[in-house]
């Protein structure tokens, strides 16, 4: 029941915010803030029940044991074997917490940026948070697809209505890419369901029932590909990444934060939760290709980031590069790599979200994102610049900050699977250092560029500072003491790993091939 509340609160909050917008422009902001805090308060207690009730130390799970912290299951469309089935494990929980925290940050930083149709803006923001939480909770494949599509619509409006210059182009591109790949996934889901029906006589969309459905390797491969493409577009993995720089660059700050911080994570989550466990053998056979795509993504996107003059585009490409690590880690599919993937998702959500907030704040002040027109900003707005540098170096993977843990664990995990890929991916860290330091160098250091309104340039205000401080503390916390998070997700990952373990022959063959 508590899971239903998690969804219900922001959904209703969105309606309230929309209605309140007609009365007073500030009411939706307070409503959104209030609603998300309530949602956070609902979600936080789940954290403690998880850690107290499950055995943390053992990552070995006996067959049949589950890691669900909370469940909810009601018939929804019984005629088609669809139920409203929500399940929460540690992995879902940490991602939902990230979602709510970044949602809160988005509301606060939009306080001054969004002055137009405030009610509708916050309604869309809350609804897209609802959709994402739904994606992290749904365990019925139809329900999952429902939320997967549902989160697109408000996001589309956020970009199309409150974005920058080329917002319509970017919004439509974003929508068509994700929707098209989503329909491929729908077809794959249905084929899987029909195969399952053929085998057992049950027509059901229940994930737990569909696990372990037997099918020929060829069929499994094509179905796996259908799911993989949908998630790879969302992640995004090269070569499906082209929507992302446009969408991120044109979105309003809150939109970029939600996109980078949360929506990209749904792709990674889908890979971990669905692609590998549902089609273990096919996924493991496909792993070399997927890992290669991940490595290419890391390097290629880093190179592109290096070449950008638009600060927001640089951050957007750095996202693609970081998600390459996630892809590498997921398909390495061992405990270390998966823990790294979770850490990378959290750290990337926070650091990239923070960078987008800072770019947005800068744009609000100097009305440009072009780094050629910046320089020497440290002198005029030191607090913003200091946080900028902090999150830039977090993003390049400096030890002591969360991203380092993520990348290090992923590389450590994938080293067991494929040495060449790991070595090439590690060079991506160097490329990451290059573009992150370049950003700091060009924007904050160097000679001060004459700003037209330099006199009026004000530093970060208290609300922004508070958001930045929380995000900075979180990323330092993740970097210095990541164990609680790893413990939280361990049972869930162990179950997933067990479901996603390939039949013996396949894994052996793969390890030999890549060696």
């Amino acid at each position: 029941m508590i899971l239903l509340w998690l969804l219900f609160i922001p959904a209703v909050g969105g309606v309230l915010a929309w209605a309140a917008g007609a009365r007073h422009p500030d009411w939706p902001r307070w409503i959104a803030l209030f609603v998300l805090i309530i949602d956070l308060l609902v979600a936080l207690p789940l954290l403690s029940t998880a850690t107290s009730s499950t055995i943390i130390s053992s990552s070995v799970i006996s067959p049949g044991q589950t890691a669900w912290i909370a469940s909810f299951d009601r018939p929804w469309i019984p005629q088609l074997g669809i139920s409203f089935e929500l399940n929460l494990d540690g992995l879902s929980l940490v991602l939902i917490l990230l979602t709510i925290v970044l949602g809160l940050a988005s509301v606060i930083i939009s306080w001054t940026e969004i002055r137009d149709r405030v009610g509708l803006f916050h309604a869309n923001l809350l609804w897209s948070v609802t959709g994402v939480i739904g994606v992290f909770l749904a365990l019925d494949l139809f329900l999952f697809f429902f939320f997967w599509e549902l989160m697109l619509v408000p996001m589309y409006f956020l970009i199309a209505l409150w974005g920058h210059e080329h917002r319509f182009y970017a919004a439509i591109k974003f929508f068509i890419f994700t929707q098209g790949s989503g329909l491929l996934m729908l077809v794959a889901i249905l084929v899987l369901v029909f195969i399952h029906q053929h085998e057992t006589g049950h027509f059901t969309f229940d994930y737990l029932a569909l696990l372990g459905t037997k099918m020929s390797p060829t069929t499994a491969f094509w179905l796996m590909l259908g799911f993989f493409i949908a998630f790879a577009v969302k992640l995004p993995a090269v070569p499906f990444h082209t929507w992302l720089p446009d969408a991120h660059t044109e979105a309003p700050t809150a939109g970029s934060v939600l996109l980078a911080g949360i929506l990209l994570k749904t792709g990674a989550y889908g890979l971990i939760r669905f692609v590998v466990p549902l089609f273990p053998d096919a996924a493991h056979a496909f792993a070399p290709v997927a890992m290669a795509l991940g490595v290419i993504g890391i390097l290629y996107a880093a190179l592109l980031a290096f070449g950008q003059n638009d600060m927001k585009r640089l951050v957007a490409y750095s996202s693609v590069s970081h998600m390459g690590f996630v892809l590498l880690g997921v398909f390495a599919w061992n405990t270390l790599a998966l823990q790294g993937v979770v850490m990378q998702m959290l750290a990337h959500g926070i650091s990239t979200g923070a960078l987008f907030i800072l770019v947005g704040a800068l744009q609000e002040r100097i009305h440009t994102r072009d780094m050629r027109l910046m320089g020497g900003l440290w002198g005029t707005i030191p607090r913003l610049s200091a946080f900028g540098m902090m999150f830039a170096i977090a993003s390049l993977g400096l030890p002591g900050l969360g991203n380092f843990i993520g990348e290090f664990l992923i590389l450590l995990g994938s080293f067991h699977v494929s040495v060449p890929f790991t070595i090439i991916a590690a060079t991506g860290l160097v490329a990451g250092a290059a573009y992150a330091l370049l950003l700091v160098q060009r924007a904050f250091h160097g000679n001060a560029m004459p700003q037209p309104n330099a006199a009026k340039l004000i530093d970060l205000t208290a609300p922004h500072l508070a958001v930045m401080a929380v995000l900075a503390l979180t990323i330092i916390g993740l970097g210095l003491y990541p164990q609680p998070v790893l413990d939280e997700v361990a049972p869930g990952l162990a179950v997933l790993q067990q479901d996603g373990a390939p039949s013996a022959g396949v894994s052996q063959q793969f390890v030999e091939e890549t060696r």
Partner: protein, 482 residues
């Protein structure tokens, strides 16, 4: 006719009585409001009569008609949609003062009568009579209060092309009659299954019937008339053409192919699959080029009937249910969209408010109508949380279940293309208002119109998030009959 047959056929008899009563009423006292009111009440009574007739079904009524669950569902859809069109027409015509407006409702009732009996037809005679009653009344409706300066243009096009289509249909029926000596669907099926080889007469006959139906459902390559008629007809009538007439024709052709055994014919199935793929891709691609919302919806309806053919080809109980649900979703979304176009109409403009640039800034000037239109279009695009999403999902379930690889692939591709033009309208509505003078709240749309849109919106969202009752209803009515 037995007593049970009388009861079962009562909704249709009642509709005939209402038509005559309205005609007499016009002769006695001319009043737009009174005529509209009696039409609406009459249609509402017919809708109520349908579930009352349910206990005495299935019943065959003369060799021409059968009343069973399928009929109740599709005729209900037809009558309900006609009711919505009647209300919209009242709002639409109320603002226009030129000429007598009362006979419009008479034509509307006759067209509805023709459409309502089509799903019940099991004989070529009733099939053709229903279709012609529908088409000829529509002809009058299209020209009756045309929003454009040349009212006869669209009607003439419909007359000539529709006439040609009817001729094809009639000729096809005649050829089949020559071959088999019967005009009853069921007997055609029995004889066709008994015959060993495919006769040339029958082959040509079926092809000609398909051509005629292709015109009526505006499937590629018989779609040429659609955009012009949609643009030229007044918005409520465009809604009627898009929803009522197409649903009726789809229902009768579904029955014909099930009873007459066309489903088993591989050559025919391949042809239909080809038409479906062409319609899905052609309709969506051509819609990309449109700058007029009515023309855009015309091309989108071509694509939608392409999607529906996937369910048609899938056959089986799943396909039949999917088609029924999809048609219901299609009806709600299209009636909503055309209803909003009708409500936005400003009299004396020489055309409906149908260019996409007319919709700029609508979110600001008319937030309720703009929000509703956005959801209607999202439903047509198949996005949650609307009926269109569940409908499209159902179609894909049926298509994948029947292993129709290419049609399903075309459906996916078509949907992706389709998104682009639906989103274009949404984007236009979100853009800033072009000039300040139109920014002022020009007209407040009548309460009854807004209430109607609100009801459609409610259906769209409720059955989009909780479709189980709708599916249960479809299973109850259609599931019981083949």
């Amino acid at each position: 006719m037995t007593a049970a047959a009388f009861v079962a056929f009562a909704p249709f008899t009642l509709l005939g009585v209402v038509t005559i009563a309205v005609m007499l009423l016009i002769a006695i006292h001319r009043s737009h409001r009174l005529t509209a009111l009696s039409t609406i009440i009459g249609l509402a009574f017919c809708c109520i009569a349908l579930p009352l007739a349910a206990p005495s079904t299935p019943t065959q009524v003369t060799p021409l008609f059968i009343v069973d669950g399928t009929v109740l569902f599709y005729s209900g859809l037809v009558l309900g949609s006609a009711l919505v069109v009647a209300v919209l027409s009242y709002v639409y015509l109320d603002g226009q003062a030129r000429g007598p407006r009362e006979e419009y409702y008479l034509l509307l009732l006759m067209a509805t009568l023709g459409a309502a009996v089509l799903p019940a037809s099991i004989h070529f005679a009733s099939f053709f009579l229903g279709l012609e009653t529908l088409s000829i009344s529509l002809l009058g409706l299209i020209a009756y209060v045309s929003p454009r300066d040349y009212p006869a243009e669209a009607a003439t096009k419909y007359l000539i092309l529709g006439g040609a289509a009817s001729a094809f249909l009639l000729f096809g029926m005649a050829l089949i009659y020559i071959d088999l000596g019967t005009m009853s669907f069921a007997q055609i099926g029995v004889l066709a299954r008994a015959g060993t080889q495919l006769d040339l007469y029958r082959l040509v006959g079926v092809a000609m019937i398909l051509t005629g139906i292709g015109f009526k459902l505006s499937l590629v390559p018989f779609h040429m008339w659609t955009p012009d008629i949609y643009e030229g007809a007044p918005a409520p009538i465009t809604g009627f053409i898009a929803v009522v007439s197409k649903i009726a024709v789809f229902a009768v052709i579904l029955r014909y192919f099930i009873l007459a055994g066309g489903q088993a014919d591989t050559a025919l199935r391949t042809g239909l699959a080809g038409i479906a793929i062409l319609s899905m891709l052609g309709g969506n691609l051509l819609a990309l080029l449109q700058n007029n919302l009515k023309r855009l919806l015309a091309y989108s309806s071509i694509a939608h009937f392409g999607y529906l053919l996937v369910a048609f080809l899938a056959a089986g109980s799943l396909g039949v249910q999917a088609a029924a649900f999809y048609l219901a979703a299609y009806a709600v979304a299209n009636l909503g969209a055309f209803g909003i176009i009708a409500l936005l109409n400003t009299s004396g403009a020489g055309r409906d408010t149908d260019r996409i640039e007319d919709y700029r800034g609508l979110f600001r000037t008319r937030p309720f109508l703009a929000g509703s239109l956005a959801l209607m279009l999202l439903s047509l695009a198949g996005m949650p949380p609307t009926m269109g999403f569940i409908g499209k999902f159902y179609l894909v379930v049926a298509g994948v279940g029947a292993g129709l690889f290419w049609p399903v692939a075309a459906l996916v591709l078509g949907s992706v293309i389709g998104l682009y033009y639906y989103l274009r309208v949404l984007v236009a509505m979100a853009m800033p208002v072009p000039d300040e003078q139109t920014c002022a709240p020009t007209a407040v749309s009548p309460l009854i119109g807004n209430a109607l849109i609100a009801i459609l919106l409610f259906l769209l969202l409720v059955f989009g998030t909780y479709p189980a009752p709708a599916i249960a209803l479809i299973r109850m009515t259609i599931g019981s009959t083949p």
